[in-house]
Symmetry: D2
Subunit: 336 residues, 4 copies
């Protein structure tokens, strides 16, 4: 039985505000800094021997992206901000209820700037974190002379590959209180979900779930102000020799209406420069339905995506062992 994708009517025990940050394991901090700071224009809030904390020009808080030195690229964790500390206790209760382990981050293990935080491996296999408080940082929103490169504003969303979009969506909608704004389903009498766009903040999404070998992180979506920023980013990336980093775009998705440019960072982690969002705050928002075979779903303008965009993604780690999480093949037959 398919999950009910319309907005959850019941009041949730906890209030997730939005997708807040991602921690990427990278092999060479300097190469990553050149890419994210010098080229894309992200702001370096703090760096330690093994970490760089980055934020965008709209961010008032310590970081929306963490780069951590490691021997092999992967995603260490994906973090969601909740309304208050009380919400954290309720989230702990949820994990107890579903009998999945979780851990309160010890002060010495904590990332810089963060308040009380809980980590767990969610039922989909992703390493997730929840927190309410994070240190403020200087707001550079009106320091336009410091907006450079792609002028990245903030993180917008994460896009995850999962073998079973139906059950993964149920986790996010029924358990975590997300709302579905758009979705793709297969044809036929018993349609299955191919992909869902799920949000807490009233935009298109905080989390997208796509059918694929998973759990893997397909990309992190970084918001930019308008299409000019994306054109400028492409020109700047090309000027600096990042030709192979530009995997797809600029272009527009039909689903989500995103105007995008997909990049691969020096470790292959995929970044979407993203603009063209809408407000989905209204009650009674009926999820937009897309057919899997609609040519304008993936690319509104019609140009095909390269194979790598469909096949490659970042592996994710266990929050407990630090080991790679094993992946499964998708339930649905893959196709472009």
């Amino acid at each position: 039985m398919r999950i009910h994708l319309t907005e959850s009517k019941k009041t949730h025990e906890f209030d997730i505000v939005r997708t807040s940050h991602v921690e990427y394991l990278v092999s060479d901090l300097e190469k990553s800094r050149k890419f994210y700071v010098e080229t894309l224009g992200m702001i370096e809030t703090e760096n330690t021997k093994n970490r760089i904390y980055l934020r965008g020009v709209e961010d008032r808080f310590h970081h929306c992206l963490i780069l951590t030195r490691a021997s092999k690229p992967a995603v260490a964790h994906i973090s969601f901000r909740v309304r208050s500390d009380l919400d954290l206790d309720d989230i702990a209760k949820l994990f107890e209820k579903i009998e999945l382990p979780y851990t309160w981050i010890e002060p010495e293990a904590k990332e810089s700037g963060l308040g009380r935080a809980i980590r767990a491996q969610d039922p989909l296999g992703f390493p997730v974190e929840f927190f309410a408080d994070i240190e403020e940082s200087e707001w550079l929103w009106q320091n336009f002379d410091r907006h450079t490169g792609a002028k990245v504003m903030r993180i917008d969303h994460v896009n995850m590959l999962v073998p079973d979009v139906d059950s993964a969506s149920e986790w996010y909608v029924s358990r975590l209180g997300f709302t579905c704004t758009e979705y793709t389903e297969t044809a036929g009498p018993n349609p299955r979900l191919w992909a869902t766009w799920l949000r807490r903040k009233p935009t298109v999404h905080d989390v997208a779930l796509m059918s694929g070998v998973g759990p893997r992180l397909h990309h992190t979506g970084l918001l930019v102000g308008d299409r000019h920023n994306i054109m400028d980013a492409a020109d700047i990336l090309a000027s600096r020799g990042y030709l192979k980093s530009m995997e797809r775009g600029p272009g527009r998705h039909g689903i989500s209406n995103a105007f995008f440019l997909y990049l691969r960072d020096p470790d292959g982690h995929r970044i979407e420069l993203y603009t063209g969002d809408y407000l989905s705050a209204d009650p009674g928002w009926k999820p937009i339905r897309w057919k899997l075979n609609d040519p304008q779903r993936q690319t509104f303008w019609g140009a095909p995506a390269p194979d790598s965009w469909f096949n490659d993604a970042s592996e994710v780690r266990s929050v407990f062992s630090g080991e790679k999480v094993k992946t499964s093949n998708p339930l649905l037959t893959q196709k472009k």
Copy 2:
């Protein structure tokens, strides 16, 4: 004693989603149609003998602006959308508690497309409406060939002139559950609020309150996608002879960071074409404080606003008698 501007911690009895629409009384529907539909590119959802219902290209619902034929220009009502019908009953209770009259809109008096709705004259003197349900309309978001003129996306906010910003803000924050994102206060040991930017949806604002002769509506803010749309709008308005309609801008406000163009419609109602918003969803958002004498507060680029921008505003009507609501002078000495 000043109101506490930081986010209300207590759970509200009701959930206002956002500012939803405004009803302007206009003297000549055809002139208004030429301005709003043919020039600014708003979509005409429906028209009757005495009314035009308009929406933007992002709107999935029946209207975000109503133009009603009348002998004299004024604001008939300002409408807020709430989460569900149950919220309406709680709002009715609030008006009972503060002993202000309200009315359930009778089916035959209702505007087109709207569900159950309550109207009242709020403690500030404004004619306000609350509703949860409204008829869906065709979503033209990806019908780019139908986006013309300023390509108005949707209503963003209303800006109200009130004689006492402190008490008006208390109404919105403490009673209606709004959050303050930015504010201006006077200098000295006992600062008074000069203006507040208050939001329900997590953007800069749904309602701005400014010190002035009130209650009057200073302007309705209509969202556009980016700065190009505003430049194009100015060019198109000029091509069609609307020279005097362009009152101020294009420019940027320091407060709110809005990139703006202020227009006066054929009846003098002020419209702000608005872009450059930010996300204010994070808990712990500390309101941005502006000093009244900061030259970049009003105009980030430094150019002064014309006198009319400070002096003119739309009068508001009683929801009961339809008469003009009497105005009072502001508590604080006016200055540019």
Copy 3:
């Protein structure tokens, strides 16, 4: 022996001002009108039973594109504007000198709006026209409310496929007085020209010559004001179902720096929406040299072009017989 690509020092007997218009033979005028007028926003100056005359919003003259009904798509002629009628006589002398036939267009055969004109099949096999005078048309440059679609400003250039770029360039540079701004040549001790960008007006080009099966017209370049117009055009084309019309881009060329979107019109004629030009007026302009194997030459951002972009082009007709001009294979081995 290679031609000398630097600016011709000798004074020419005649002065070609710029590429002025192209006549496309099309199979269905209504389909073409939908594409060029309703979607791309070109202005229809005049139409007759078998022809539509189009201009851009910057054009002060009668047309920059002619669509003529015919049983089979092709290019009927490519037209260059000269300084004055005296130049036409000198061009006639040139064709006499090289012993190629030419014809003065008879008044009854003339296209609408055009003054005295000469036509010939040039040594490359293309049907070319020269004229000095053309009827003025209403300048819509500041009628911004009439700028729609891609807001095409004017014709910028033509791009021709020729089997021998060296000799074709010699015709344009030595005989017609064009200046080379950029070129691609093969590697090795005896480099051959792969492509040249040649101009009369001091921009990047009026004519580009590329190695390929020719004579064929690869595309007509139409100028737009900035990158936003190209993004808007893509969105509008997609909204109207012209998915297959968008062949390549948006993107940027290394050579010429063009920001482009390549379209195929309903008959397969290729149009480049083009912006990002530079001024090449300065004496001493040394042609920019590109190596054939430079990945950023064709696509500054690195994404490959589809095969059709390399293979397809419009056939050209004889100005005398109206028959298709036979093509030859290129001297150089083709490759992407």
Copy 4:
């Protein structure tokens, strides 16, 4: 008798290519560098103890603006590039014929990078220079990562205040071979020229002449790529505290169609950031006529210019004595 403003038919003895650079005397090189290089993003080609040579991102040559340390701000010279060295001799002959002194710049007095050059005080009183050759510099056109601030491309034009626009225009049109693209004239039976837009390169202008106390230089027009660059420049200037530097705009002129932002540099010299040009190459270009009382002439969008824009301008120096050139009042009564 009024000059004939249409394009000169006779072949000129010399060929001026375009307005090439301006030398501003400035009081503090460091302040000027902060403004032009760090904020507007101009490229510093070379600096000496007393001079900074600047170019734009489109420039392939040594400079389009020279800043020279001096005790008092002024314009030292305005420079035009000619086709070849032979043209310089013909220009010398012209000054001999009209019995005005001129000088060949001695190698030791020459500005850096420049070839053979002639200087004179023209009949309007302006210090002018002519040259054909100038050293090449690295072309940064596709080094997009080095395009910052306003991303100034190159110089476009100079705008001069003269007491008698009729006679000044005659000098430029009849003697120097400029073509008039647009002009303003007074009303009445004997119209006088109020302002003229004159060009050599086929754009809107190389030189504009406006009625006023002169000879004085009203502004130097620097080209930028599109409207976004001007918006970004305003934001960046504001971020760096250059509030008072933004004198007028952003806005659009009716005459010339320029999308503009007028700046005052640290010495009060006026700079126009300029975009929105058109091609005026076609023969038979009839100058666009504007009435002095057309409200859209000065400001297409209707907002008035500040008084300083009408009153202030840079004084000019004698090329021989270095003294300030005395000014005269305009023949026509001044008005906004």
